[in-house]
Amino acid sequence: MEMSRKAIPYTPNDKALSEMTIAIVSTAGAHLKDQDPFNTAGDHTYRLISGDADTSQFTVTHGAPKEHYNTDEPKKDINVIFPLDRLRELKEEGFIGDVNNKHISMMGYAMRLKQILDETVPQVAKEITKSKADAVLLTAG
């Protein structure tokens, strides 16, 4: 579907956070160590991250210049860009209802803009709508 820059899609929300299931979608290049790394020369693919993923098993692959995005930092603690542990804690505290069973990770600076808009973006939106997510938290680098 063609998206207009002027008309901004906006879905109102009347649910309380304590009743909502939250998913993470990130373009910060996070992935599990046993998943294929992103191709830093250009990559329109995404990685599915399960809700029970172990945050000690993450790494980061990203094509941006290091002075723009230093991936050493999220490699020390993936929660700075992909906050699964924090969402789990917020669930325990009752601040949110649940952590989604599925999260999505992409690499920003991915160059392949047409493929991303034509293929990746609709696929990611479909993954989210098929999941239990009531809302999505998005993070970049």
């Binding site: 906006y10 991936t71 998005l138």
Partner: protein, 82 residues
């Protein structure tokens, strides 16, 4: 990033973006967004192992979902613990 956000919103699921690149994200006009002021790239939600700041940023972002607002705005937010 904002293209993904907009596509998800179009499917009827509310979203909120945490962006450190206010200029670039602003051009794309995100449905809902916050900008943690003064954070370095790579520290979207705070520094590694700074649980307090990370949680504060996430809470601030998610709370945007409960506030009726004009889409396309990016709200500057200060996090003194950063």
């Amino acid at each position: 990033m904002v293209a993904v956000q907009r596509a998800i919103e179009m499917q009827g699921i509310p979203t909120v973006l945490v962006t450190l690149d206010k200029e670039q994200s602003g051009l794309m006009r995100p449905p809902r967004a916050i900008h943690p002021v003064g954070f370095q790239f790579g520290h979207s939600l705070g520094k590694p192992h700074d649980v307090e700041t990370q949680k504060a940023v996430i809470k601030e972002a998610l709370q945007q979902l409960t506030i009726k607002q004009e889409p396309g705005q990016i709200h500057d937010k200060e996090f003194p613990s950063y």
